[in-house]
Point group: C2
């Protein structure tokens, strides 16, 4: 029987449990729930998984709690450089932008690129120009800035100057949002969007816009979106590796995603994944203190921040 | 018994057989042979596969016959935007640049980034700045231009304006250089470098700097470099797919690379691969009229342009 499932994350750089006030907890859960309901409405009305993941990610891009779009992390020059990608599991169409500075909702532009997938990946100012030419809203780079991200940048730069020897908090290192979905037609899709990490070098691109690393979808196996140490995701081709372990290795979604998170742990890389397979099973493993995450299906709605 | 092997390509956009004069044929073969001998010298003296593929690619970047470095294709704005990546199969270290405009030898900068792999991928002007800061030579963008690439751009733009309805020649669509090697220590590595295709949109990035698409290396299976329709390589995670078919599917190097070229043919995408496995077997399949390619080992040297 056809069923639809949507699973999302708001990054494995969640606020530590000790610092999570009831107010922040509620705000995060409300945003995740809104994203889930927004995407699920599309799925329930027979819409595509690709549209559902795009619109769910737009909600998270627009919410300053999450490190993507409005409220994205600042790079070490005090600028926002935004990365996003989407992939459709039916035809393997994909689109991505990297280092965009003025696109209000990068995931929408990735979605537009995926229509033809040629070009598939656009970078920097050329991505901004392409977006404007295709009718997407541009904003000043400062639109994305929030006081909380400015404080995080100051903290990170002070740490580098030796004033603070404590390890950088996960929330400054890993923030990304993403979604994966199964639609009523049996198709899978995934989308990811990020501002990278606080004080990242100018021009640094992580796994988010890399098809096969931070985003993957194939109707034969699964759709997934990653969050964590992007360079390690790229070096393991993590998204495609999960797919390959399922397709060629016979692993279940839970096994394949769990094994990859274990590999990231062995490499000391903070990491999380959200994924859905062709049968509607979901997996949301992570190795950090918390990960904003949730899923929605005929079974109900689930949202969580820490282990609880 | 330890053995060393180096395999290279100069792109599947080779000059059509009918147009290949003895002079061009000789020049191309000499350049390929020089690249092979340069890399093999490193391998024979106990050097690393990573150094061998880097130096072989530098030779091809510096030769205007090939579409990488000096003699790279022009984008539709008349600028060169260069992409390159390297990967080491021992530790999975990798480095890449995309949309670089002033780095004389992009593969050297990718090689430098691979030392730490954090950042792993740098784009645009930030890649140029990082290179300069780390002691690499910058040149004016016009350094990369040759009369032949200017003619190709004019041809391509005229075709788009409807003056020429014939299909774009492969040499204007697909030019890339790359190398893969097995060293005496049993390690594999790969490197790829390109100017993209003639009249590509500004900011367009193909498979060349994408680890898992145009470049892959893993000591358990193989090292490879791709050339062809980059967007299709990304959508199939082609490099990592070859690895996965070998590791999880039990395919040989010849089977796995041949299957992927057949998939590209089915998708109407011009494509070529050069690869070496952990036992020193090589594969050089392609589906276009020609592909500049060659290998060197204790068995001798082989270079070719067309089927012959």
């Amino acid at each position: 029987m056809p069923k639809s499932v949507l699973v999302i994350h708001g990054g494995c750089g969640a606020i530590p449990k000790a610092e999570l006030t009831p107010e922040i907890n509620r705000a995060a859960r409300e945003a995740l729930t809104l994203a889930l309901r927004t995407g699920y409405r599309i799925l329930e009305s027979g819409g595509s998984a690709l549209d559902a993941v795009t619109e769910a990610v737009v909600i998270l891009e627009n919410d300053p709690v999450f490190n993507a779009g409005y409220g994205a992390a600042l790079n070490r020059n005090g600028l926002h450089e935004l990365d996003s990608s989407v992939m459709d599991g039916a035809l393997g169409l994909a689109g991505a932008v990297a280092g965009a500075r003025r696109i209000r909702n990068p995931v929408r532009v990735a979605r537009e690129l995926a229509k033809v997938s040629d070009p598939l990946l656009l970078i920097g100012e050329a991505a901004d120009s392409w977006a404007a030419k295709h009718g997407f809203e541009l904003v000043d780079n400062s639109y994305f800035t929030t006081p909380s991200r400015q404080e995080a940048l100051a903290r990170m730069l002070a740490r580098e100057e030796g004033d603070d020897l404590s390890p950088a908090p996960e929330r400054d290192k890993h923030g990304t949002v993403g979604a994966a979905a199964l639609d009523l037609h049996g198709h899978l899709a995934a989308a990811t969007s990020t501002g990278g990490y606080t004080a990242k070098p100018a021009g640094r691109v992580g796994d988010t816009p890399i098809i096969g690393a931070g985003t993957w979808a194939d109707d034969r196996t699964c759709a997934l979106s990653g969050t964590g140490k992007g360079e390690l995701f790229i070096r393991r081709a993590l998204g495609h590796e999960v797919h390959a372990r399922m397709l060629y290795g016979g692993a279940s979604l839970e096994q394949a995603t769990g094994e990859m998170i274990a590999e990231m742990t062995a490499l000391s890389g903070g990491a999380g994944l959200i994924a859905v397979d062709r049968d509607g099973n979901v997996a949301l493993p992570f190795n950090t203190e918390g990960m904003y995450r949730g899923w929605i299906s005929a079974q109900g709605v689930y949202v969580a921040v820490h282990e609880d």
